[in-house]
């Protein structure tokens, strides 16, 4: 076996060696959940900053309570609040 033919066989063998079973759906969902959580933190942080600036300008006393309530959400609740999800 020579040249390109040998390369083709070797590539085929390598692909076979590297074949993996697909991950469990729960694994993928868990990883996405962690991502959603980070996204939610960022969005809520940005919201908090703008709320804080609005509060400074106009005095909105209720915002801090809202932020505390938002910070206590689970990732699932974050996703629903942000309009996302699986």
């Amino acid at each position: 076996m020579r040249g390109e033919s040998a390369d083709a066989v070797t590539s085929e063998v390598l692909r076979a060696i590297g074949a993996t079973r697909p991950p469990e759906p729960g694994v993928l969902a868990d990883a996405r959940e962690a991502l959603w959580s980070m996204i939610a933190s960022e969005m809520l942080g940005a919201g908090s900053e703008s709320a804080a600036s609005r509060g400074a300008a106009g005095g909105e006393g209720g915002r801090a309570t809202t932020r505390r309530r938002e910070a206590g959400r689970t990732p699932d609740e974050h996703k629903r609040a942000l309009g996302g999800g699986d």
């Binding site: 390598l14 060696i17 993996t20 697909p22 694994v27 962690a34 980070m38 309009g83």
Partner: protein, 201 residues
């Protein structure tokens, strides 16, 4: 409803927009757009991790890849529509840290495992199994830099230029490493085939 609005405004919906566009959106006020990027590439990223660190570790490390990628999205070069090379580069860094902390070395796990019968349907399975062992042995003996390029191309289906981006080397360097790796494998396997032919005579 939102999709209709996007179509009317000429903006591609997230599910059809290229990765680069989604990453740019995610960096400019729509962080949730990044989830579509994760959804598109999650199986491939998990496979990459699993082939190199084992399935259990891949399960644990996948989230870390997304978190790092999301945190680094501001530096993404949006001229690249396909985010795979960038994501593989991040996954590679996650793996290197994993190997450092577990002292597991840097050998791809898939090469350590004995694959029993990946060639169902082929008659000469014994020869196939022998050839697989020879390929594994030859790949393991390659210099790490050459092996990395070879496996990015063979396992992750990247082009040499994409593999170069993953590794942070010039495309020409990746191409020459790939060329050397293939030449070495060809040499080793042809010697093996020659020896076997000699034994059978």
């Amino acid at each position: 409803m939102a999709d209709v609005g996007l179509a009317r405004s000429g903006v591609e919906p997230d599910d059809v927009a290229p990765d680069g566009v989604l990453i740019e959106r995610s960096a400019r006020g729509r962080p949730d757009a990044f989830v579509e990027v994760a959804r598109r590439h999650e199986v491939a990223m998990h496979g990459y991790l699993a082939r190199r660190a084992g399935r259990q570790a891949a399960d644990d490390l996948l989230a870390e890849v997304w978190l790092r990628a999301f945190a680094a999205r501001g530096g993404y070069d949006t001229r690249y529509a396909d985010a795979r090379p960038w994501l593989y580069g991040i996954a590679r860094n996650v793996l290197r840290e994993h190997w450092r902390t577990t002292s597991a070395g840097d050998e791809p796990t898939a090469l350590d495992e004995t694959r029993v019968d990946p060639w169902a349907g082929i008659d000469d399975r014994l020869d196939s199994a022998e050839r697989a062992k020879a390929v594994v042995s030859a790949v393991r003996a390659l210099p790490t830099a050459e092996r990395e390029v070879l496996l990015l191309v063979a396992w992750e289906q990247l082009t040499p230029a994409e593999a170069a981006k993953v590794l942070g080397v010039p495309p020409g360097t990746a191409r020459s490493r790939l060329h050397r790796a293939r030449a070495t494998l060809r040499q080793v396997l042809s010697e093996r085939d020659g020896d076997q032919a000699g034994e059978s005579i």
